[in-house]
Amino acid sequence: MARAATTTDAFNAVAEPRRRQILDLLAQGERPVNDLVALLGLAQPQVSKHLRVLREVDLVRVRDEGRQRLYRLNAAPLRPIHDWLRKYEQAWNARFDLMDTILAELNEEDSHDDD
């Protein structure tokens, strides 16, 4: 699968562990940047930089409320990642489903051994 080399798509944006942490925190609800700074234990400029990358790929959206800027998760751009991984998961499901058949036979052998 061809992907952009920079942080211009969701794949790259979530490759950074801190950015995944930010997404996890925002999945629990909207938060101002100060909350994220406190929860992540990072300096504000770093958090703001990560938020900027996430906003560029539309994983995070922002709105002003009074004097605060509130950040929230927009999960839709994660869909391609989800789909990409689910195809791989399907391949493993096909394997394991065949293994189920084998295991049923081995279980059957066991029960005869017990006779």
């Binding site: 699968m1 490759a15 562990p17 999945a27 998760l73 999960a75 994660l78 869909r79 989800h82 789909d83 990409w84 991984l85 689910r86 195809k87 791989y88 998961e89 399907q90 391949a91 493993w92 499901n93 096909a94 394997r95 394991f96 489903d97 065949l98 293994m99 189920d100 058949t101 084998i102 295991l103 049923a104 081995l106 279980n107 066991d110």
Partner: protein
């Protein structure tokens, strides 16, 4: 028996890892057997992507393994590796190399299989670790392209549950 069909879960715990989990309605000695016996491997390893034509297993530390399948598209797909740790029937560590990429030996994965048994059922965890993110992603791509282009129909049934 509780049905387990289609219940494998794949997650990405870190940039360079893939974690595959699945429960089986069988004791782990049987899961271990199905996982390591060449004649049994031949029956499941290709999944719905083709037919296994060869499964070689030298199950000892430093011993090698190699699986070959003929994919539905008519071409061959081969993986090989070496066993690093063997603790039957609960833990197996082996390397894995996909022969279908350029410089395969530069893209070695390490697979740690853990089998945990409870009440006659077995919980399988396969943690796959690669040298870099690009290799991990290539493995995921190869895992789904080893047959033919798959239909997207099944994907449409998958609900997004990430938010």
């Amino acid at each position: 028996m509780t049905t387990t069909s289609g219940t494998a879960k794949v997650t990405l715990p870190a940039d360079t890892q893939i974690l595959i989990t699945r429960e089986f309605g069988a004791p782990r000695r049987n899961v271990w057997r199905a996982y390591t016996d060449p004649e049994l491997i031949k029956r499941w390893w290709a999944g719905d992507k083709g037919t296994v034509t060869s499964a070689e297993v030298d199950l000892r530390v430093g011993g090698r393994w190699r699986y070959v399948m003929t994919a539905n598209g008519g071409f061959e797909v081969a993986f090989r590796g070496e066993y690093r740790e063997i603790a039957e029937p609960e833990r197996l560590v082996n390397t894995e190399i996909f022969e279908g990429i350029p410089d395969p030996d530069d893209h070695v994965g390490v697979i740690t299989l853990t089998l945990t048994e409870k009440d006659g059922r077995t919980y399988l965890e396969a943690l796959c670790e690669y040298g870099d993110k690009a290799t991990r992603d290539a493995v995921i791509d190869s895992g789904m392209e080893s047959g033919m282009q798959e239909s997207y129909d099944a994907l449409e049934q998958v609900a997004v549950s990430l938010s």
